[in-house]
Amino acid sequence: MFEELDPLLHSQLRLSVMSLLLSVDEADFVFLREQTGATSGNLSVQIEKLREVGYIDVNKSFRGRMPCTQCRITKKGISAFEEYARVLQSYMTAADASQIDKKNGYR
């Protein structure tokens, strides 16, 4: 049987945020919003969900008078992402095998 994909990561916006954070040390909220094309409200909600489960660290501060939110992926987040990628890979392998079976006339 197939393992279940982590429901927290298996959502477009949360997966986008985690993929971006995986490639950098630290990213500003504005950067994440620009790259994902999400609205501020939606992004805030999804970031909070990721923070609650400990996948990311969120550091809020001020840059001059402007509020500034910096996000960083945690070790737990990296492990969860790696596990997600592994399960995803097993789905892909199974899908490929099924395609080959179909081609060869096996059901």
Binding site: Q12, L13, L15, S16, A27, F31, L88
Partner: protein, 203 residues
């Protein structure tokens, strides 16, 4: 609002986001390229002109003291960019480390050359300064090209190497023109290319 994905969409999304983060890293590199490219080229040309204008050509070399305030200015610009950067990456840290290492290396090299030249009373050693610095910059450009996977920097590294070799066949005065040319072709041109690429991506 949440959108659920199939496994192929998930993989496409992961790849796209990782590539977007990588592209953003390259864009930030244009400021030091432009700053140091213009500064060094200007000072080198100024040195070349002063060699022929001043009664005592040896005084022309003091123009390189302008690099000290330039370094200070660059330090403040870098700090500002770093503080206001929307994204910080481990690749940036490695890249910065390479160029900091270069700065220290140049300092040690210049001290060694000056000390040796005065001890041996041999100004011939000064003819090594430009080619060795070009080789050192070339090594750093090559390392940057590997780190950022930005192909034009491989060509820049080759150009700097060629510039260093050319220094062996021309009088010392011409070294300054070679240095200026290398800075324009190796720093200023790629800096403006990155600039244009960034503006195009933002349209």
């Amino acid at each position: 609002m949440e959108t659920n994905l199939n496994h192929e969409q998930s993989l496409t999304l992961i790849n796209e986001m990782i590539s977007r983060a990588r592209n953003n890293v390259q864009k930030e590199r244009r400021y030091p390229l432009l700053f140091w490219g213009y500064t060094i080229a200007t000072v080198a040309i100024l040195n070349y002109v002063l060699l022929y204008v001043l009664c005592n050509p040896n005084l022309s070399f003091w123009v390189w003291c302008l690099m000290l305030p330039a370094w200070g200015l660059s330090y403040f610009i870098d700090r500002k960019i770093h503080r206001t950067a929307l994204v910080k990456t481990h690749i940036d840290r490695i890249g910065d480390g390479v160029w900091k290492g270069y700065g220290i290396g140049v300092g040690v090299f210049l001290f060694t050359i000056f000390a040796a030249a005065f001890r041996l009373q041999s100004p011939v050693l000064f003819s090594l300064v430009t080619p060795v610095i070009l080789i050192m910059v070339g090594i750093c450009e090559y390392a940057s090209a590997c780190i950022y996977r930005f192909t034009p920097w491989y060509r820049v590294a080759a150009l700097l190497g060629a510039g260093a070799i050319a220094c062996a066949f021309v009088p010392v005065q011409v070294h300054f023109l070679i240095l200026a040319l290398c800075m324009i072709l190796g720093f200023v041109v790629p800096g403006h290319l990155l600039n244009r690429q960034t503006k195009k991506n933002h349209v």
